[in-house]
Point group: C3
Chain length 179, copies 3
């Protein structure tokens, strides 16, 4: 299984400051995923819509990622175009992820409603936009990841197992594979 | 009043297994609607977008349905195209139904966020996508139906009364008709 | 700072009854905004999509409004076209506002899910659709306004301070300006 991790930030990609998005995503996934065989594809790019679209397509279509997590670029500022780029490469839109991520973040900060995160299906991959801040990344992954393994089952991807101490993957009984 | 009930499933429509969607919708409506005169139009069809669109149009435009409930085809799998078909025949999108149905289902299962249900207005009809499982159909109808009668009032449809033991229709005082 | 207040109602704009939308918006803003220098631009117009679009463009592009609040026209009825007009002039859609406004109103009435309110960014302005009823206007502003000042910071608008007794503007520490 290959997971694409994409940090989208003008300043981090230009080296003005250190990217914290990809390390946060990696740490969380390392603690949460129990399946033995998976690796990441990492990308650190600027807030340019054509570049974000091309990166998402490459990760899904050429690298074969089953899951792509983006971080950054989901706010209201003019340079925040991650949701637009994600929707532009979508086969299907998954509105429940954005709704639930905002609802989760809203427990912590009222400005959570400014986040425009979306999730989509492209071919056999699930692409989810996450916030830019490490703390918010962890909070939202804690809030929605339980639904990710079954989603990837349904689109024909690999069977993901999780460390239940971090997050318990939920599947209907008929979809659970015995070891 | 005519209510269209549409079960969307490749396997049920091919006779591979028995459709449980329409019986669940019928049972719930029979218990919930107190208006004496209403009947259903039933359709059991495959997960084909053009067929779903044609069925929704026929039920609203030719049969004169004021309410159409669909079941099935709202997940992330490639054959799940009910929301796309529903949006394609919409005059107006009603985002609150999908949000609330997912919020209600989320109390039961974390994978509720994978459901892509929408509701729309077409002409003088409200069309609502419901989940495929009988249990989830009941839970979401319990969660949103209180708003359905007033919605149908507002689009020029018949006045629906409900059995308050099942669901209490909510209307502003000025919209309540005395018997 | 200039705030556009737009009441959208066929009957109020024709003088059939007195507009209650703009007075409600003004009262709430007067109590909530602590910044000394701001004024409103008021518009009372009919439920005509081209007119609503033209009004929103004029308020943002010519009058220089940083915030535009609309009231009315967000229901399911054929004449309710405020969300469509708002989306038509949008540079960016802000889904969290609509979700949160419906979630707030749902605490009061189950028909809150019939409200199709959206919020969008156009240039350097935030445009938010509010309900039509004075009570619902206050409830939803109470529910979402904490995120408005920081949103306007992010799109390059003026720094808004609030009366904390009414609503406490939330900003990350790095965005708070010392007096």
């Amino acid at each position: 299984m290959i997971i694409g991790l994409v940090s989208i930030s003008d300043r981090a990609s230009a080296g003005v400051y250190k990217d914290e998005g990809i390390p946060s995503l990696k740490d969380w996934l390392k603690s949460a995923i129990a399946s033995p065989e998976w690796r990441e594809e990492l990308r650190l790019i600027a807030d340019e819509q054509p570049l974000i679209e091309a990166t998402l397509k490459e990760l899904v279509d050429e690298r074969g990622c089953s899951l792509v997590l983006t971080t950054g670029g989901t706010g209201p500022a003019p340079r925040d175009v991650t949701p637009e780029a994600t929707l532009a490469v979508a086969d299907k839109v998954m509105p429940g992820f954005g709704e639930q991520m905002r609802a989760v973040s809203l427990k912590y900060v009222p400005t959570a409603i400014l986040s425009r995160q979306v999730a989509v299906i492209r071919k056999r991959a699930l692409i989810i936009n996450l916030p830019g801040q490490p703390k918010a990344i962890r909070e939202t992954l804690d809030g929605v990841f339980a639904a990710v393994p079954y989603c990837i089952d349904l689109i024909g991807g690999p069977y993901i197992e999780t460390n239940e101490a971090v997050v318990k993957a939920f599947r209907p009984k008929s979809a659970i594979r015995k070891k």
